[in-house]
Structures are given as structure tokens and as C-alpha cells.
Amino acid sequence: MKKITILTFAILGLGLVAFTNHGGGIYKTNTGNINFFSHTSVEDITADNHKVKTAFDATSGKIQFSALIKDFEFPKALMQEHFNENYMESTQFPKSTFNGTIENMSVVKTTVDGTYTSKVSGKLTIKDVTKDVSTIGTFTVKSGVVNTKATFTINPEDYNIKIPKTVSGKISREIKITVDADYRHAH
């Protein structure tokens, strides 16, 4: 009985260590930035989220983002309300996430100052619709901080964001998303 219990704990212990040890370093921030920009001849719409949670694994190249829709700040209060209430339905779909990979992680030397680029691809989820996206990320390492910048475009209609005919000309079908985050080594 005792032996089995000890054995169980031993196995469990090993298992936990194996699971929590990511091998390389995890780089994190809870204050990443995501900006989106919609340009049409009628109107430009832009909003910023400065509270994006994001992290990447410097060994496996795994990279993840999580942004609360309500944290997108607009210059006009009414736009922000309509964004949440009419377009993103943020009470029902509070979060948007990205789960992907930095494809050439070995190229990005997170311990050596410099600028590196790598393709980043993965799954972007908005309003519970998941699509594959990919872009080129720029990684700038400077005194321990890894800054990541990337830009890509999405079509809101791909993510179940309905645009009524009356405002059709005011909202672009190619919304530019700009990601900018300063990561620090976490463990």
C-alpha cells in the first residue's frame, strides 16, 4: 500500500516536472499592443488595445496572444460602444486569441541583441471563428527585451462580423492589424 502510494507520487512528480519544464525560455508580457485600422474613402477607423496578454517559447517557437475585445479603445466613445455591441458582440464573445508558431525560431536569438525576421503562422480566433493567418514577424532584441512587430490584414466578414448595408462603405474589408509587444524573459 505504502509502496504504491509513494510510487504514485513519484510518477506524478516526474510528470509535473516534465509538463512544466518548457526547455527554453518563456518570454511574456501582459501589456502588448494591437492596433486595427480600417481605411475607406469615407472614414478611417482605428482602435488600440494596450492590455494584450502574449507569450512565446524561445525553444519551440510557440507564440500565443489573448486580447479582451472590451479593451479596444476608440477615439470616439460611441464607436467603441457600437464596436462592442453591434459588431463584436463582446458580451457573448469577450476574447480574441491567436495560437501559432514562430517558424524559424532558431534564427531568432533572444539572447543576442539584433533584429531578426521569421514567418509566424497560426490560428486566429475572433467571435469563435478560427482561421489560419500568417505573416512576417520582426524580432528586435535589445538588452533582454524582445520586441515583436507584425502586420497582417483580415476581412471582418470572415469572422462572422456583420456589416449592415447602410455603413458598408465606411468599413474596409481589409482591416490592417498591427501587433507590437515588448517581451521579457519569464522563466
Binding site: 504504491i4 510528470g15 511574456k28 510557440k62 489573448s66 460611441l78 460602444e81 455591441e85 455603413v167
Partner: protein, 287 residues
């Protein structure tokens, strides 16, 4: 024994399995306060104010019309031959403090108000069941004196309305507001009429789609407050929000576009078929 081991494993690894999706991110959410927003589409339920305020440095320009009785039939084009109207606007000094002015054709009245939202419905780190605002209106009628020969005072032209607006967004679609109200008229037509009238407003809105709502508003005046021939105001309407504008289309038995008039001066009764069509158009400008 095998079962026990299995249970140990399941318990130990369950959180890891769940966290696998976004396993790199901090899964501990800091407690945040989630404020209810868009309890109503605009700062009017139908006739009366809602708890909504315009944001800082924004001006909400409003044009309101109430037409004649639908019972006027085709001859009056269902009331469209007659109209009372108010033109005015609300301005945000801060997100919670608004001021507004307006001019109505009814008794050639200028009105102004100060509105302050002092509670915000929230959940999370801070829990607050309701949103509440205080609003004080003042109105000046500028009709010529009915008897210019007697001594007339400017103060006789004034009336005031004070309201506590308390609203709760129960679900994404349903919001309810209660508005205890005091109307004070400096001068009434005869000595047996009351200068102060107490009323309780009830507003309900139900979202039909993301951009349209059904609104119901009733102002109940306490018994023996109104004149014999006056009645309570009941309104049913729709809000249609198009992005830049909110159109409020409604049916009501009052022709008054400001508080004192629709709460205390409504004569027409729904049961007699004396119902009017009306609309408010709101357009927000940024400064």
C-alpha cells in the same frame, strides 16, 4: 488500488489538459470591473431621459416631433398635419456630467437641464446592481401674458422637474428603469391645483436586434395630483440605431416634448384612440 492511481492522475493532470490551448499565457485573470454599457440606445427612453449620458466633449443634437392624433384619419394624414416639436441637444462636460438645452413649440418653452450619473452598474472586482443618475430640469414658458394688465412676475413662467433615474441592464437585451420624479410649477391656473406633482416613471427596453429595440415608457402620477381632465403618459416605440444616428419612432398620448408637459399636461387617452405618432432623431457630433 488501480482506480485510486487513475484518479490521482486525472486530478493531477486535468488542469494541464485544460490549459494546453493557450498554455504559455498567465491563466490567472486579474479581477477587473466589468461595467454595463448600452443599457439604452440613447439618452431618452421615449419621452423621458434614460440613464445614458453623452461622452465628454460630445454633442448630441436632437430633433423631436409629436404629431396629431392618428384618429384624425386620412384627412389629417393620420395626424401629420399637426406637429409639436423640440429642437435641442445634450452636451458632455464629462462622461458622467451632461447639460442640455432645448426649445419647444409647446408654450414656447425653453428648457435646460443638468444630469449627473453617479452610479454605474458593474460586476467583477466591484459589484453594483444599478446605474443611477440625477437630473434637474428647468423650463421657461415665453408665451405672452394672458392678462398683461395685472402684475406679472418672471418667476411665474418657471417650472422645474427633478428626477432620480435608476436602471438595470438585466440581460443583454432587457433593461428596466425606474424614475421617481417631482414636477414643480411656480404658477398654476387656480388655487385648487397642485404646484408639486409626484410621479414614478417606468421604462423598459428589449433589444430586437443589435441595432433595434422596443421601448415602453409609462409615467404614473400619484393619485389626486393631476387636474381632472389630465392623464398619465404612456408611450411605445422603437429605437433604430444606424451608427451615426438613433431614430426613435413611437406612439404616445402626449404632445409634450419636455418633462413638465408630458408628465403633468397630457390630456389625450389611449383608450379613446387619441394616440400620436412621434419621433426623436439624435445625431452625435464630436468636438
Amino acid at each position: 488500488m488501480l482506480q485510486r492511481i487513475l484518479i490521482f492522475f486525472i486530478i493531477a493532470y486535468a488542469p494541464l489538459v485544460y490549459a494546453q490551448d493557450l498554455d504559455l499565457l498567465d491563466d490567472v485573470e486579474e479581477p477587473v470591473t466589468e461595467y454595463a454599457f448600452a443599457t439604452f440606445k440613447t439618452n431618452r427612453v421615449v419621452n423621458g431621459h434614460s440613464i445614458e449620458t453623452v461622452a465628454k466633449k460630445e454633442f448630441d443634437f436632437k430633433i423631436s416631433h409629436r404629431f396629431g392624433f392618428l384618429s384624425g384619419g386620412l384627412y389629417d394624414l393620420f395626424g401629420l398635419d399637426q406637429a409639436t416639436m423640440r429642437i435641442g441637444g445634450d452636451y458632455g462636460i464629462t462622461d458622467n456630467l451632461n447639460v442640455g438645452i432645448g426649445r419647444s413649440t409647446v408654450d414656447k418653452t425653453y428648457d435646460g437641464f443638468v444630469k449627473y450619473k453617479f452610479l454605474k452598474q458593474s460586476t467583477g472586482a466591484k459589484n453594483m446592481p444599478v446605474t443611477a443618475a440625477w437630473i434637474s430640469h428647468m423650463g421657461v414658458t415665453t408665451l405672452k401674458w394672458t392678462d398683461p394688465n395685472r402684475e406679472n412676475y418672471f418667476s411665474s413662467r418657471l417650472h422645474y422637474t427633478h428626477q432620480l433615474l435608476v436602471a438595470r441592464k438585466f440581460t443583454e437585451g432587457l433593461s428596466v428603469q425606474l424614475s421617481p420624479t417631482l414636477v414643480h410649477k411656480n404658477l398654476v391656473d387656480s388655487a385648487n391645483l397642485k404646484n408639486d406633482i409626484l410621479a414614478l416613471g417606468i421604462g423598459v427596453r428589449q433589444k430586437l436586434t443589435n441595432r433595434t429595440t422596443l421601448n415602453l415608457e409609462y409615467y404614473y402620477t400619484l393619485p389626486d395630483q393631476l387636474e381632472e381632465n389630465k392623464t398619465n403618459v404612456l408611450s411605445v416605440g422603437f429605437d433604430i440605431e444606424t451608427g451615426g444616428h438613433v431614430f426613435q419612432l413611437f406612439f404616445t398620448n402626449s404632445s409634450g416634448p419636455f418633462e413638465k408637459s408630458f408628465i403633468t399636461d397630457t390630456k389625450a387617452k389611449w383608450l379613446d384612440g387619441d394616440v400620436r405618432f412621434g419621433f426623436n432623431i439624435a445625431r452625435v457630433f464630436n468636438f
